[in-house]
Amino acid sequence: MPPARSAAPSRAPRATRAAGDAAAADAPLSPERLLELYYWMRLTRTLEERLVALYRQTKVVGGLFRSLGQEADSVGSAFALERRDVLSPLIRNLGSMLVKGATPLEILRQYMAKGDSPTRGRELNIHFGDRDRGFIGQISPLGDMLPVMAGVTLSFKMRGEDRVGLVYVGDGATSTGAFHEGINFAAVQRCPLVVIVENNGYAYSTPTSRQTAAKQFVDKAIGYGVPGEQADGNDILAVYAATRRAVDRARRGEGVTLLEFMTYRRKGHAEHDNQSYVPKGEIERWERENDPVARFTQRLTGEFGVATATLEAMDDRVRAEVDAATDEAEKSPPPQALDALVGVYADPPRAETLWYREGDGAVVEQHERAEGWGTYAAAPAPPKAD
């Protein structure tokens, strides 16, 4: 049975510094909205389980990154945004991207390096974005998305747009210079930005005790002169409420908020990682006592009176969707090699083929995108299934 939120006292929230300033944030979600939250968490988990199967079949050609046990903080926080808002996910925010409109088909094609994947085989895993749907593709150097999102939200402020940005960093990224420079810049400019530190206990193999001498990451908010709030990252409603408060604050023109969500990374850095550095029993304890899906299921069926059959039907729906997307993705073609030369610049639109590779140029011409591609006005064309 899923436990109450005090199940993992060592990582339970320790402080709330900016709570209770927005009634809307604490207003109860409708039954439909609650079920939506469940759907996104279940979809995240089921899709990742499917990716594991494909990884073992060597159909995922690169690494596989899991967010097992962290689904609540991704889904709950992204759920607090409006469609026009923009977020920048990190490697364990598959759930945030799904909420923002990324599809299982895109994720599967991306992991399988297909030619019609969102990046046409150029980038790995969930490293992709779509400005129209409001998520900006991340890069691997950690912390870098914070200055970028400072700039995205600076543009909202400069243009007087009613839009908010949200950026995720891990406990490890808070040690980077980019994190510091980005949050400081955004704080000074009062950008409408929510900064979420997902404290999942580990950065690759490094525990938080080796990452910072601070007692808690939320304490860093004081140094930047911004409000900070810590919440139980495995309680999806707490995540939603805390994010909503920060989003509302940003929307009111009150600038940056730093949120710290306490969660736990139950899988390794990536699928290859055997987690030998984790104390014995720790993972099992979190699985047993503090699984975010199990906890929410218990609240739905208990306090919110949702029938178990309703949730089971949703699980079936999710499985069917992931099955269909997998079938579709498997049919996708690989990229054509010479597409690698297209689109480094707007002008020139393609790099020259080296002379000892000449003779295949026609493939590029045929694969090249038409006018307007990559410019501000034109969103990437939707992926085509051949």
């Binding site: 990046t119 150029r122 980038e123 490293h127 992709f128 974005g129 400005r131 900006i136 593709g137 890069i139 691997s140 150097p141 870098d144 914070l146 200055p147 970028v148 999102m149 400072a150 700039g151 995205v152 939200t153 600076l154 543009s155 909202f156 400069m158 210079g177 980019a178 420079e181 980005g182 400081n184 810049f185 955004a186 000074v188 400019q189 689109g343 480094v344 610049y345 707007a346 002008d347 020139p348 790099a351 591609w373 990559g374 410019t375 501000y376 990437p380």
Partner: protein, 325 residues
């Protein structure tokens, strides 16, 4: 039209683009109220206001990253590095994030990073650098380095209008020494096109930025003393290189000397020499030689700086070696 300096030409270009396109804005350290360390942005705050001329914290990573984010959303930021030496702090953001954005994520990054570069000014190791080579090496960035006032204005305007990130190197030795009369109207200079700074028939000196003027001095001296006719090619843009112009001048004179102020190993001269070798070997009457800075950090004392950096006399000596081969 009166003559204006290289520095004023850059400012004029920025002002015209800010007036033309409300998406253009400037950000950097001390660029607003103070007008910038060299006063390139002097007067911009008064004219365009705090919304479009942002004084930022000392955060090269933060500023460049924020510019990229704003550029994704349709703005056209112009970032000032107080000295271009500090662009090294933003190397990760420029090479990992900005340069790859269009390719990996179809995210446009129409932004300019500009700043005072180069030596001959007793600036010492951290106020004299020419860090262009590392960025020329990075696919996804464009690199511009004008020598004349007309090109400075025309290229900053083209850089601001370009749909990709352009690094705009300004030579601080030229800021107030070089003047020009700006062409009438909306004067732009295309990125990627070199300029023949002096016509000649016996030897091509291929160079850019401050050493354009040293090459021109050397050409005068060689004409007067040796009776040889030297062509000087001012590259103006370093990425993409104007291959056509490089090969054309080499095929015309059959001898080439590549000159730059940057250090030797891994500098642009190596790349240019390789391209000449690959494409115009059969036209050459002599090996391509290089005149560059010595491979050391740039020292402060005049006796040291002048020894390390390429001088007109070095160019004359090297030119005679190529000519007499």
């Amino acid at each position: 039209m009166p003559e204006i300096t290289y520095l004023e030409a850059i400012r004029e270009g920025i002002v015209e683009e800010m007036a033309r396109d409300e998406n253009v804005f400037c950000l950097g350290e001390d660029i607003g109220a103070y007008g910038g360390a060299f006063k390139v942005t002097d007067g911009l705050l008064a004219r365009f206001g705090e919304q479009r001329v942002l004084d930022t914290p000392i955060s090269e990573v933060g500023i460049v990253g924020a510019a990229a984010g704003a550029a994704h959303m349709g703005m056209r930021p112009v970032v000032e590095m107080q000295f271009i030496d500090f662009i090294a702090n933003a190397y990760d953001m420029l090479t990992n994030y900005v340069a790859t954005a269009r390719y990996r994520a179809f995210l446009p990054c129409p932004m300019v990073v500009r700043g005072p570069s180069g030596g001959y000014v007793r600036g010492g190791p951290f106020h004299s650098q020419n860090p262009e080579a590392g960025f020329v090496h990075t696919p996804g960035l464009k690199v511009v380095y004008p020598a004349t006032a007309e090109d400075a204005k025309g290229l900053i305007k083209s850089a601001i209008r370009d749909d990709d990130c352009v690094l705009f190197f300004e030579h601080k030795y030229l800021y107030r020494r070089i003047k020009g009369v700006m062409p009438e109207g909306d004067h732009t200079v295309p990125i990627g096109k070199a300029r023949v700074a002096r016509e000649g028939t016996d030897l091509s000196i291929i160079t850019y930025a401050a050493t354009v003027f040293k090459a021109l001095e050397a050409a005068e001296q060689l004409q007067a003393e040796d009776g040889v006719s030297v062509e000087v090619l001012d590259l103006r843009t370093l990425a993409p290189l104007d291959d056509e112009a490089i090969q054309a001048t080499v095929r015309k004179t059959n001898r080439a000397l590549v000159v730059h102020e940057d250090t030797r190993t891994g500098g642009l001269a190596g790349e240019i020499t390789a391209r000449i070798n690959e494409q115009s070997f059969a036209w050459l009457d002599a090996p391509v030689l290089r005149v560059t800075a010595h491979d050391v950090p740039l020292p402060y004392a005049p006796q040291l700086e002048d020894f390390v950096l390429p001088q007109t006399s070095d160019i004359v000596r090297a030119a005679r070696a190529v000519l007499s081969y």
